[in-house]
Symmetry: C2
Subunit: 443 residues, 2 copies
């Protein structure tokens, strides 16, 4: 597993680091105008400040959407927005939106944003990096008296980890029954929205129409190991992969493990083993960047001395191309029929989840790529295997996404980590991309 230290040939030695990194990212000249860069020390300070809220003993984050920690983090970030010259409000979906006027009142806003809520045992980079960098970009522009033509909106989206409630409210996708779901915080989504200043009864008020937003940019940590392993600075995201998930039920016959000869067994776990291995091998060998995962398994009755009669497992397939997901599933299904025949079991698939893939805008990819190169940063075009708020906004506006490396690809863990230098690189790419997006007309 690669790590940032070797990759960049420096050793992190505390306080002095941020300054050194900042200097490094300031050196390359942006294609447009002044020697522009964000304030790296301040960004890292703000990032550390946010990390103190909901900090766990393991050094990770527990900021479940709607929890006390989430509410405290929202208050903290709202204050940062004010300090950055943004005018924060909370919409009915609980999204914190910090606005900054543009020079041309006719233009629709450019939006940047991400989230600050975490999974139960999360880290400090998944989400916060994009929010803190967005605020820093605004503050840097404010200090450097740089006004964009378009109005700017820096957004903290509500409950990303628990179902992208905030960004999906912008596209009118949050159904009434969804508001009844109990989240990890213990509150329903509806009650949670009330707790953070939203209004679940008027959720349509958060909705935007296609064209209401000129363009959207999200900076995020990769959450995978591709950039880290390949020693690349910036990921230019081609889109957020589509996801399909199935419940798979394997029915064999539970029987006494001592008295049932091997050749008379209908062992559902043996069938499951064959299936898991076949899925892994088959999907790995296909050309492309598709992934398939069996993450959950349950064997019944589950005693050491009883042959499993029933196994339930999950299957998930992800790819940028929804049709390819279907083709892969078809092949898995064929293999499952063969396995069922060989093991004298029955294997049934029940799809329970689908998330359509969301390609980024080709123009946005070019802008991000160019901004990175002008900062002398290496780039790689890649899919995002994880879901992001950007995928909701893609239904309303051209979106672009910027990835920075995650050390070891560790994600949704207290051990999740990105080097400060990479975070600052990402923020600078966000700033320069935003300026280039602003320079363009989005009709």
């Amino acid at each position: 597993m690669g790590d940032g230290m070797n990759r960049r040939g420096f050793v992190a030695t505390g306080v002095g680091l941020a300054g050194a990194l900042l200097t490094a990212t300031r050196l390359p000249a942006s294609g447009r105008g002044p020697q522009l860069g964000i304030n790296g020390d301040r960004l890292l300070r703000h990032h550390r400040g946010l990390a103190e809220i909901g900090r766990t003993t393991a050094g990770g984050a527990r900021r479940l959407a709607f929890s006390q920690a989430d509410q405290a983090a929202r208050a903290y970030v709202t204050e940062l927005m004010r300090g950055a010259g943004l005018d924060p409000t909370v919409d009915v979906a609980g999204n914190v939106i910090g606005r900054r006027a543009g020079s041309d009142a006719e233009l629709r806003p450019l939006m940047v944003g991400s989230h600050i809520d975490s999974v139960p045992e999360g880290g400090n980079f998944d989400g916060p990096v994009g929010v803190i960098a967005g605020i820093e970009v605004a503050q840097s522009m404010e200090e450097q008296r740089l006004r964009t033509r378009h109005p700017l909106e820096v957004v903290v989206f509500t409950n990303e980890e628990g179902g992208k409630t905030g960004s999906r409210a912008l596209i009118g996708e949050v159904a009434a029954r969804e508001l009844q779901l109990v989240t990890a915080s213990g509150l329903t989504i509806g009650d949670g929205l009330r707790a953070v200043g939203g209004d679940p009864d008027r959720l349509d008020g958060a909705r935007r129409s296609p064209g209401d937003i000129a363009a959207f940019l999200e900076l995020h940590v990769e959450q995978g190991s591709v950039l880290d392993t390949q020693n690349v600075d910036i990921g230019v995201v081609e889109g957020i992969v589509g996801i399909k998930r199935w419940s798979v039920a394997i029915d064999g016959f539970a029987n006494h493990a001592g008295t049932t000869p091997m050749d008379q067994r209908r062992d559902a776990l043996v069938a499951a083993g064959e299936l898991v291995v076949t899925i892994h091998r088959g999907v790995k060998e296909l050309p492309g960047r598709q992934v398939a995962t069996v993450g959950r398994i349950d064997a019944q009755p589950g005693a050491p001395n009883v042959i499993p009669g029933r196994v339930d497992l999950s299957l998930e397939i992800r790819d940028l191309d929804m049709e390819k997901i279907d083709v892969i599933f078809g092949e898995i299904r064929t293999a499952a029929d063969r396995i069922a025949g060989e093991t004298n079991t029955a294997i049934a698939f029940d799809q329970f989840y689908e998330s359509r893939s969301a390609p980024t805008d080709e123009r946005m990819r070019d802008i991000v790529e160019r901004a990175a190169r002008e900062l002398s940063l290496s780039t790689l075009r890649m899919p995002s295997g994880a879901g992001h708020d950007a995928q909701s906004i893609a239904q309303l506006a051209p979106v672009g996404m910027i990835f920075v490396p995650s050390v070891g690809g560790i994600s949704h863990s207290p051990k999740e980590f990105s080097w400060p230098r990479d975070v600052l690189n990402g923020a600078n790419v966000l700033l320069h991309s935003l300026l280039n997006v602003d320079a363009r007309n989005w009709s």
Copy 2:
């Protein structure tokens, strides 16, 4: 799956059946003395009577050792013993022992027995068949004024399903700390023993020495499908297989299922799948009647969108030959090392259970086999894959075991079933075997 109907070409039509079957089993003459047989109607009536106690809505049995149902069943069986001319007492291990004097006061007792407790969702054949038949054998001898030379003991062993407490007390194997274990009834074994009239503080009082028992016979349902599938009437048990069990821990690395490329995964469940399949195939292909089972599996963290970083599973191997178990385990371990290397995981085995194999006595096998043949019943020599009280007693005396077919091999289930004809065949083989055992001198 075979079933008794096809095997014997008759249709079960209720009340008339037992009589017809009984007639059939009475026809063949025993090699020794009179036209001897048990009273099949009475045996089936007693069996049905016992089945009413702890009967579940599914038609199975819930007679957990030490529970109210177990206590009621013990009272019922004690009454049957009295009616059969047996003199029942309860030893300090809670075993109900029905004694009948022999004609030679110098001889040590012959013992027959089994159990009447059940697993939580059990059936009405595993255990009760041997107990009810033992009592019936005594009652038939009483009615036919047949006195054995040896004293006879018909025993209901305590808590077979929860650890063979009663029979293991006879060999002094029940340790003090075992008495603290909480059983499925909610009582500790110690308190349970008190509840059924035993005395856990004086458990040594139940102990017998090698030689104290002349010989032991247990009639039991096969709990497997071998006799049913091969259309054989009586199984002549070669011994109770040995068992070893391991906890298997597979450590990979939990990571995001969307962002971790297939070729960079350390998926503990893929390793587990390979292992389960390899164990099943390998053990199936070996010559012999060994079995190996993975019955329990747990994958963590267990979410559809997270690659399993850790899998825990159980491995159990059974065979009559303890050394063969070790050889098989060695091969599994070698395969596991290969799989761990291929999947970039670590696989560790921790043995947590061992039960030594207990061969039956060759003379007893011959006697059972001859008794069955004299009744024109087909026989098959076979191991018992399940544990039985006989395996404890094998440390004290020559033991023999008689199996009757289990339809479809179903065991530890409300669907467990043996045809009345097979139960009565078994009881008659028990009677005739016992008489032949009695005729012999066991020095």
